[in-house]
Symmetry: C2
Subunit: 209 residues, 2 copies
DNA sequence: AAGTGTTTTAATTGGTGGTTTGAATTCCTA
DNA sequence: TAGGAATTCAAACCACCAATTAAAACACTT
């Protein structure tokens, strides 16, 4: 078993278990035993449980963010004025594509993102903002240009409303989908939900202040 | 120290600590010591930590829900057609008023609600739905009537988008407000944020499908 | 005031958590 | 292939946890 193998086995197991149960509810013993590695390997390779959690997010967020930045470069190079809908579609579709071509489950990613924002007293939130904040500020700047005449404070609040709607619904997608299936017999895929989310979010951003 | 005193001291301390750190990150020892009561009092009065958590939510949600139901009764008795915006205002304002007149911090309430929904292995989610689901189904029914012609599945997804936007932004109100204050020098009150949220949510609900 | 049921207390139990250690093993290079 | 670094391993450590128990303190009735 090579080094990288052990490291990625730990990350794989941690990713799944964290998404299922949360961070404090997942012990290192559970992670290492499902990964099939020794308990001490976590502290050896990552230093601590906290750093393992950050590493899980790094592996998720770096390609996600890179693909967004590339997509924004591409879009901007076109010189066409970017509509809010187009930007939202770039964000969601680009992100989904980036995750799927990696073989990662987009739902799990959203679930982790949701946990990052509610658990751990905001350690993770700060980590994510400091590491990836610039890229998302760029996205926000472009989106803001697509909504001329909207007062900046209102715009930013609505951006957070959108973030909340996205993270909340996608991170509990399974639970919500199960409820709707029982009540209406209608199945919804993640893809369809994003297609519902984009126009709804756009309408929210465009609303009169 | 009378019985009710001990019980409510425990609930007060638990409420604050849970909202600050989450459930598993808060030990009974921390709760009882900040409450100034003996460790065994929790298990004596509530049975277990799990039941204490439920009790904290019950104390929060029961007056909250009761005030919503009364408001809905009042509104329905007026026989006027209810607009979506009016219903949202009833929900938010009624709830805020109910919490504030109790001397409870609305933000803390939202923070707890956020935690309840993200704890996946969700005994809390089930507890809340089974206890208060009927009242909120009634609200959803009225809101749905205010949006004729909207396909039910789309409506419900948008309801969850709205719930997500609300819980997410209000539960991290402090953090978001701090960022906006730094970037724009503009302070936002919780009241103002709700006044931004209502039209944004209404626009989302009214969007073309 | 005695007695009964209730509440609080302090000490204990059995268990799990993250982390550390030092020896054993594997890997790579010289 | 020999030697040294990197990695793995079993075991242990120590802090902390929820829950229980039995005795002490209290409140309330008769």
């Amino acid at each position: 078993m090579t080094q990288t193998d052990t490291v990625s086995r730990i990350l794989d197991a941690a990713e799944v278990l964290f998404a299922e149960r949360g961070f404090t509810e997942t012990s290192l013993r559970t992670i290492t035993s499902t990964a099939g590695v020794n308990l001490a390997a976590v502290n050896y390779h990552f230093g601590s449980k906290k750093e393992l959690i950050q590493a899980v997010f790094e592996r998720f967020l770096t390609p996600f963010t890179d693909s967004l930045v590339k997509e924004l470069d591409r879009r901007e190079a076109m010189e066409e004025p970017l509509s809010a809908e187009a930007l939202l579609n770039s964000l969601y579709r680009g992100a989904m594509a980036s995750l799927e071509c990696q073989g990662r489950d987009p739902q799990r990613f959203m679930r982790l993102l949701g946990l990052a924002y509610t658990q751990y007293q905001g350690h993770l939130r700060r980590f994510i903002v400091s590491r990836y904040g610039d890229s998302y500020r760029r996205f926000a700047g472009l989106l803001s240009k697509a909504l001329p005449g909207l007062d900046p404070v209102t715009f930013y609040w609505r951006l957070y409303f959108m973030l909340g709607a996205t993270i909340f619904t996608l991170s509990s997608f399974d639970a919500i989908e199960a409820i709707l299936r029982e009540d209406f017999g209608a199945e919804s895929s993640l893809q369809e939900t994003l297609e519902r989310l984009v126009p709804a979010a756009a309408a929210m951003l465009h609303a009169d202040a």
